[in-house]
């Protein structure tokens, strides 16, 4: 692995440029990316269907337009970090011209899973617990409302926690003050860039919701055209909505990965670090 030879040109970019580059990355690694997004997303899509379709207060045809969409959105937002973990690991490895293997990605995922669950999974667990104790999910609704500021904070100001956990693999906590842990690392990386992070969060929110709506509407149009029937049954609606949302989540996993690299370049001179390490490797070969 030569550190200064990466699949993506490492340099500072603007938000729009990163979004454009994400399209290029998706085009170049379409097949494997689709597979790894699917691996991450499928269990959560089935879980969502099981949780929501089994709930008579949510899964009723009259409510499908609003209530179902709202609950599905909440679940998808909270599941996003866990569902995109395999795709993030794949991107992390493919960046350095490595050939990612299934065993390696699953191995890395297994190693990072405890931290992912502790730091990223608890809001989802809380919401699912509310569904479990209260079928009408009145409690869940309050929990979600309380979590809106948390979600803004997490995705607006600490958006790259997943990348830190999966790609940097620091310990969850450490008693040694000089050693870095995941929370400390997250604070160090995200601090002093809040304006830029929030701008990227808002841009992602804007484009993401537009793209999801567009995909859902086109899929519904295609279904109507193919079947000659514009009626939407609850099951078809659920499938179309979930597919659109997860497709957008998959794309924005790539965007988030690229934004993470960009933040490291701006804040820490990551591209200088890679060059220096590669040069050191070349020099040390000469010394041997």
């Amino acid at each position: 692995m030569q550190l200064d030879r990466t699949r993506i040109t490492i340099r500072e970019r603007t938000t729009f440029e990163l979004f454009d580059l994400a399209l290029r990355v998706v085009r170049s690694f379409a097949g494997p990316l689709f597979r790894w997004v699917l691996v991450g997303v499928l269990p959560f899509a089935l879980l969502n269907h099981w949780v929501l379709a089994g709930n008579p207060f949510i899964y009723e045809p009259e409510q499908l337009g609003a209530t179902y969409t709202w609950w599905l959105l909440c679940l998808v937002v909270l599941e996003m970090p866990l569902a995109t973990a395999p795709a993030t690991l794949y991107l992390g490895q493919v960046l350095f011209h490595q050939t990612p293997t299934r065993s390696r990605i699953f191995g890395d995922l297994a190693r990072s899973l405890p931290q992912l669950l502790v730091l990223q999974g608890w809001p989802l667990a809380g919401l699912l617990f509310c569904f479990w104790i209260d079928e009408a999910s009145i409690t869940g609704m309050y929990v979600v409302l309380a979590m809106v500021p948390f979600c803004f904070f997490r995705f607006g100001f600490r958006p790259y926690m997943n990348e830190i956990i999966l790609l940097e693999r620091n310990p969850l906590s450490t008693s040694n003050a000089t050693r870095i842990s995941t929370p400390r690392r997250s604070k160090a990386l995200h601090s002093w860039s809040q304006g830029e992070l929030f701008e990227r969060f808002l841009a992602s929110l804007l484009f993401g919701s537009g793209l999801a709506l567009q995909l859902c509407a086109v899929a519904w149009g295609a279904k109507s055209w193919l079947t000659g029937n514009a009626e939407l049954s609850p099951n078809v609606f659920a499938i179309l909505l979930q597919a659109s949302l997860w497709a957008v989540v998959g794309f924005f996993a790539v965007v988030r990965f690229l934004c993470y690299l960009d933040l490291r370049i701006r804040r820490e001179g990551w591209e200088v670090d890679l060059r220096m390490r590669a040069e050191a490797a070349r020099l040390s070969k000469e010394l041997i």
């Binding site: 509407a217 001179g269 200088v272 670090d273 220096m276």
Partner: protein
């Protein structure tokens, strides 16, 4: 970072007929979408302003039907030729594109002509496909189910841009055009180093110091960027190469790696570039030759190896330990 063609990036290189290599950043759908939205907003605002003026004027004359006819004509021109006319007269830009700092060019980097401008905008109807209808009840509760909101998805444009190297939508393909970002990049020349410690350390380095091309590029990049990092980060970044260079040059172990890298940069790119007026003409030390990566430097023939030089220290690949 290496910038081989296998690397993914949004920049492209265009060789002009005059054999000049130009680098452009091609513009993808996201920035273009904002420009398009601005253009639509402007069109709507101008159309309504005109509607009011024309309505008042022809209403006053009691020939409202002529006003309606004029507005239909204005609508037609706005719908089909707004983008084309602006791009033809404003050298590939519309007001929205100008605000977003983007411009339409041909694939060879030349300005587009009127035919290309109009054709690529007329073909926008193909890019807008497929159309869709959304139930209004999704947005406004208690609306009857038969009330639908029509729209164009522009999915064809998105797919086309994703699949083409220059982010071309379908309208760009037959006209051979692309949209690029107009950016003014700062190209740094030599970084001025006036830290006394660096200058002093540079003077203590071997006189015939010669570095490889890759190390030269790495040092230049480091020195250019180090100013934005705090001292701790500088120490961290310079540690990998600095440790090896300290050993190679036989310097004290407590030498600051950051200062050492700056000193080598200073010696290589700044101090050696200056002609020393005290040195007789026959002994003028030429600027250091930076060997290519695959070129093993020959210590006997390098111009910097003057008779009074200290032991050679060369860092080019292929050269063994010369300390």
């Amino acid at each position: 970072m290496t910038n081989g063609r296998s690397q993914l990036d949004t920049t492209i290189e265009v060789v002009t007929p005059e054999n000049v290599l130009l680098q452009y950043q091609v513009c993808g759908p996201f920035r273009r979408l904002i420009a398009f939205a601005l253009d639509i907003g402007l069109r709507i605002a101008v159309f309504f302003a005109l509607w009011m003026v024309v309505g008042i004027f022809f209403g006053f004359l009691q020939i409202a039907v002529i006003g309606v006819a004029i507005m239909v004509l204005v609508y037609f021109v706005f719908s089909w030729f707004y983008g084309g006319l602006f791009e033809a007269y404003w050298n590939g830009q519309t007001p929205g594109k100008r605000v977003m700092g983007i411009r339409v060019l041909t694939l060879t980097g030349e300005p587009i002509n009127a035919l290309q401008a109009i054709l690529r905008n007329v073909l926008r109807v193909v890019d807008a496909l497929p159309p869709f209808l959304l139930p209004l009840s999704w947005f406004i509760p208690d609306t009857p189910a038969y009330m639908l909101l029509p729209g164009m998805s522009y999915l064809a444009a998105l797919v086309s841009m994703t699949c083409t190297e220059h982010f071309q939508r379908l309208g760009d393909l037959p006209t051979g055009t692309m949209v690029v970002v107009e950016q003014r990049r700062w190209h740094h020349g030599l970084v001025k180093i006036d830290e006394p410690l660096v200058v002093q350390l540079a003077s203590e380095l071997p006189a015939n110091l010669e570095i490889s091309r890759s190390l030269g590029k790495t040092l230049a990049h480091y020195v250019e960027r180090r100013r934005v990092f705090p001292p701790a980060r500088r120490a961290d970044l310079s540690r990998h190469v600095g440790t090896l260079l300290v050993k190679r040059l036989g310097l004290p172990e407590d030498t600051s790696h950051d200062l050492l890298l700056c000193a080598i940069y200073y010696r290589t790119f700044i101090s050696d570039q200056l002609e020393d007026p005290l040195v007789p003409e026959a002994q003028v030390v030429e600027p250091p030759r930076i060997p290519f990566d695959d070129e093993a430097p020959d210590l006997q023939t390098t111009p910097t190896a003057t008779p009074t030089a200290t032991p050679a220290a060369t860092f080019g690949p292929g050269a063994g330990g010369t300390q």
